[in-house]
Structure formats: C-alpha cells, structure tokens
Symmetry: C2
Subunit: 361 residues, 2 copies
C-alpha cells in the first residue's frame, strides 16, 4: 500500500460504514442514517469528520460509551422548543432526529429549537443545518466538543472547537451554507502540518504557558487551540464568546457535560470524574422562511445577495469572493463522480475495523 | 473648555437626550425609551454608540430620514415569529418594541423571533438582548449596518460591522452578556488611534487595494474593516460568515436594505439609488429557559459554568479570565456613581444640538 492518496468510491465507503454500524448493533434505519451523515463529511471535503472517525466511534462503542439501540426521547417541550435525551446513542443518529423535531415544530408554529443531551460526536454541523433547506427553512446546528481551546487569557483548555452551521435557502442560486469551528483553525489542519513537519501560522495555537506558538504539535505538549480572532488585539475574546454561546446552548440548556466536563471523543481518555451533565450536547434551530415574508420574495432577494457578493471586485491574485458553502459543494460534485481520496493511515484503520467485524472494504 | 475628558452625570445626559428626542417630535414615552437605550451605551463603556451619536440622529431627522411618530406594526407573523415594519422610526425605539414582541411570543410558545425592516441605528446590541434577562429568557439581538467591511478576498465594502449580542441569565452570578461586532475591531477603536496618530495593528483594516494596512485612517482612503479573523490564514472567512448571517437574518428576511444597500448612518451620504429594501434591519430572539429545563437547574449550572471559567488558570501577566459582560458591568457601576466621561468634541456636538432646540446640557 503506497503512502499516496487512495481514491475510494462513495458507494463503497457508504456500504462499508453502514455495515460497521449494523455490526455494532444499530437497527437498519439508524445504520443507514449514520453512514449517510458520516459520509457527508467526506463528500464535502471535511476529511477529519468522515470515515477517518469511524474507528473512533467503534472504540467508543467497545468502551460501552455508545448505545446502538437508544431510546431517543423528548424530555421537555413547548410548541416551539424541545429538549432531547439521546440515551448515549450515536450523535450521527441522535442529531438528525433532533433536527427533524425542530423542523416539525417550525412547520407548526413558525420556528423550532431543540437542545440535546446525552449524545456524542455528530459528524459535520452543516449536515443537520442543511436538512432545513428542502423545507424552505433556515437551519441552525451547533455542538459542544472535547475541551481543546483556551479562553482569552487562560492557560487551561475549557472549550471544544464548538462549530456553528447555518443553512439558508436561495432561489436559482445554491443555498448559503456556513459551517465553521469557532476557533482560528481546526485541529485537523494542525495534524496535516504535523505530518508535513511544517510550522503552524501564529494565531492558531498557544503553548502550555499560554504563549503564542508555531508548534503544530503544541496540543500534545499541553498547549491549546485559540478562539477565532487569535489574540486579544485581534479580538480572540469574540471567538471565546462564540464558543461559549455554543457550549451553553448545547450543554447547559440541555443538561449535557459542558466546558471542561464535555466527554472526550477518544475512548482512551477517561470520562470526567465529577460529571455535571450527561454526554455531549447539541443545539438545533429551524425557521420557516415564510414565517417572516413570502417565500418567493425571500428567495429572489437571497439570489440577489449571493450574486452581488460573488461578483464583488477581488483583491489581486484572488479569482472570486466565495459564498459560504461554495467550495464544499464543488468538492462534493467531484468526489461523487471521481471518488473520495482516503489517506493510507485511514485505510489501515478501516481495515482494522473490518477485521473486527469480518467485513471487507 | 479643555481637551481633557469631561465627567457628566448620567442623569444630566439622560435628561438632555430625552429633551432632544422630545424636540424632534417623539412622544413622551418614546423619547424616554430612546434616551434610556442610547445612554445604556455610555454606561457600559461603548462610548461610540451613546451620546456621541446623538447629533447623528438629529441630522438624520433633519434630512427627513427619521420619523418621530412611527406606526410600528407587525406585517407578518406566526405563533413564534414576526416581521415588523419600523416605519422609519428611531432604531432606539423600534428595536426594544420588537424585542418585547419576541419576549411575548416566547412567553406563549417557548421562543419568539422577530425580524425588523425600515429601522435605523439601534444603539448597542446588548441592550435589547438583556431585556430577556428579567423574564428568565435567553436574549439574542443583531443588526446590519452601513457597509464598511470587505468580505475575504474582496476590495469592496459590502457588509456593516453587524454586531451580535446574546444575554444568558444565571443564578447568583451576574448574567453572561456577549456583545460584539463581527469584525476584528470596531470603527470607534480606529478613530481613537487616529486622534492619537498611532498605527493600527495588522489585521484590523485593509487599504483600497485590499492589502493589509496599519493606517488607522485607511477607511478614509477607500480601505475597509476586516471580518473577525483578520486574514484568510487566520480564518477571516468565518467572520465573513458571521457578518453575512447577521445581514441576511436582519435584512433579507425582513425586507430591509442588505449588504451594500444598507442605508448609511451619516446624513451627508446619499441613500442607495437602487434600494432593495426599506431602511436598516434587525433580528431579535428570546427563549424561555424553562422551555428547555427547570429554571433553577439551568441557573445553578450557569453559575457553575461562570465560576469554573472565571477562576481558570491565567497566562502570566493576566489577572483573570473575563466572563462576557463583566467589564461592561464594572464600568456601568463606576459610571453611574462617578459620572460618564465625555470627550470635548462630543460636548461641542451636544452644545450644537442644544442650540438647535434651545436646550442646555
């Protein structure tokens, strides 16, 4: 096996992932859904959140931290809100079911908002937000995550990369889809630099004493990711605000583990000894566009918005202004037809998983 | 009159501002509300958004762009949402009335979401979000604004500083109140550097060609403010996403002027010739905490969250991790008792306004 990138078809990765979830004991429908959500990351170019994480889910299941047959239930609700107990199910299954509840409530009363506890990693934030699009709704999705990020002025890691995604329908134009971690850089980008033995740009990480660092492996020696903004002068306190808002809406509101008590994704790290809540938390929202103005009016103005921004005059050397969601959509188009590039170490992980369950990729 | 800072009591500034709004023809109740919202900025240390802007509102009124007796009305609604036409009223009046509608809807169905068109500058975003606190609700407030910000890779100014505020109640601890522009730095900070003839840090502005600049006056020569993140390497596209989300929820959803069509705050700049909507737009949200979990549970966990973060181990030279809202609350405490520092040029502006209406400060 070469160290080069291996092109694997979407269908093959999908069917393998689904079989793995079935082998873990997930019902047919859940296994299908989990594979679909997981693979949406690979299709959209977010390689860190797709099949590369499959072995992580398996190890969590082996450690007894994932329940393959959860009883996902509404534990509190009003006409426009709900709180969901994910019963330690796969986040890949709990999240789309919770988002569906937000969509149903939005159908009934204009908007729906759902906070989730007792879940775990839910794949890419954007998948769930985008579920709203086919209903002509604006979708919102966020989640807290294992603590890797230091607040401004802190040496301690107290927040996850806590992503926010928002999907907004348009008319002729493709939808606006923002999906981003509330840190300057994602951990996956640092891992790429580590493999290449390159330095990280200043503003991505700090060292164990909280000093700016260009060490791409700073997290391994007690350092931390930095909130969006990088440093106080460039307003990292705003990234800290955003990450905190995600943590509170996802976990304090639902009763999940928040801040440094968020459970780790990796099974070799222990769960917090003094838990303040259950599992990881998510937060979802859906708003019917026509709960605010006629749908066709909104869509034609969104088209106008997108056209104006994408044709803005660019700085020299840049071809275009990118509307959020454009690069991911373009990658998805090519990966569906040409296949998904999978790194050799990921192929090895998948083979290890296959061996556990007597499956071949 | 010295160039030093002039300490003026809150009561004096409040009563003067209220008299000015009355002189513009606002009803008693609206003048009181507008003065309260305006002064909340001075109290909380956001000097750029308080009495320093009073003359700006007066000039917009003189230019016929502010209606002192607006018929603020709901033009579209569902149980959890509404769209408001501000009838060109003062944003300082339209915004709290719209937020009250969000709160009322939240009381009824768990959450309320209100998009506003045909408004103008609404003071500090945080005021409106904080209205939710006394109802044990989470409050959200955002607004679009005059275009001063270039998207990543763009030379053109297409977005405003588009702030987001979120207020979250706690129990024993003071509330969490985030309130921030979605740019690296606010324009007011650049104005301070210009007065001191100092350079701006790299990452705050770009020049007219879109190159990084340290010229604090770059905006005056065709430059632009940069989205939170500063540059592509440090994820300015995420700040662009945030500013865009605010623009779309505030203006495309309501029918206000969006992107480069947002009306300018200053009366000497013309309105867009080809308007795509009416006035400026805002977006508000309110969610009852007990629409998700029992109120006392939420509050005790918010207290725990705040205590954990504020006692985090700090980097050397920093005394504490600041919980969002803490510096503003501390400033408010001292300014209420000791008076509000007003710069000499602002005093002159207030005297000019006083002359127009035969009022003395």
């Amino acid at each position: 096996m070469s160290t080069a990138i291996n092109l694997v078809s979407f269908e093959k990765l999908f069917s393998f992932s689904k079989s793995v979830f079935l082998s873990m004991g997930c019902p047919e429908e859940d296994a299908e859904l989990a594979a679909k959500v997981l693979l949406s990351a690979d299709l959209r170019g977010v390689d860190s959140h797709g099949v590369a994480r499959l072995i992580g889910y398996v190890r969590l299941w082996e450690a007894g931290r994932i329940n393959p047959t959860p009883n996902i239930k509404v534990i509190h609700e009003t006409p426009s809100t709900a709180t969901i107990d994910g019963d330690a199910g796969l986040g890949l299954v709990v999240a789309p079911k919770a988002m569906q509840i937000a969509i149903d409530k939005s159908e009934n009363v204009g908007s729906g908002w759902v906070s989730v506890k007792n879940s775990n990693h839910y794949g890419i934030a954007g998948y769930h937000a985008m579920m709203a699009l086919e209903h002509d709704m604006i979708g919102l999705s966020m989640t807290n995550a294992s603590p890797l990020v230091s607040p401004t002025f802190s040496k301690e890691r107290l927040l996850g990369t806590n992503p926010i995604a928002m999907a907004i329908p348009a008319g002729e134009e493709p939808a606006f889809v923002a999906d981003f971690a509330t840190t300057t850089a994602a951990n996956g980008k640092l891992e790429i630099l580590q493999r290449k033995q390159e330095d990280a740009p200043i503003g991505w990480v700090q060292d164990k004493d909280g000093a700016p660092s260009s060490d791409a492996a700073a997290l391994k020696s007690g350092g931390a990711l930095l909130p969006l903004g990088s440093d106080r002068v460039r307003s990292s306190h705003k990234g800290f605000c955003l990450g905190s808002m995600v943590d509170i809406l996802s976990a304090v509101l639902s009763g999940a583990g928040y801040g440094p008590w968020a459970p780790p994704f990796v099974s070799f790290l222990p769960l917090p000894e003094d838990p303040v809540g259950e599992g990881l938390g998510h937060f979802f929202g859906a708003m019917r566009v026509d709960a605010f103005r006629p749908k066709e009016d909104f869509k034609s103005h969104m088209d106008n918005w997108i056209q104006r921004f994408k044709t803005a005059e660019t700085v020299e050397g840049q071809e275009r202004v990118l509307i959020p969601g454009t690069p991911e959509r373009e990658i998805e188009h090519s990966r569906r037809t040409e296949g998904i590039p999978v790194l050799t170490p990921v192929i090895k992980d998948l083979e290890e998983v296959g061996k556990k369950f007597s499956l071949t990729l």
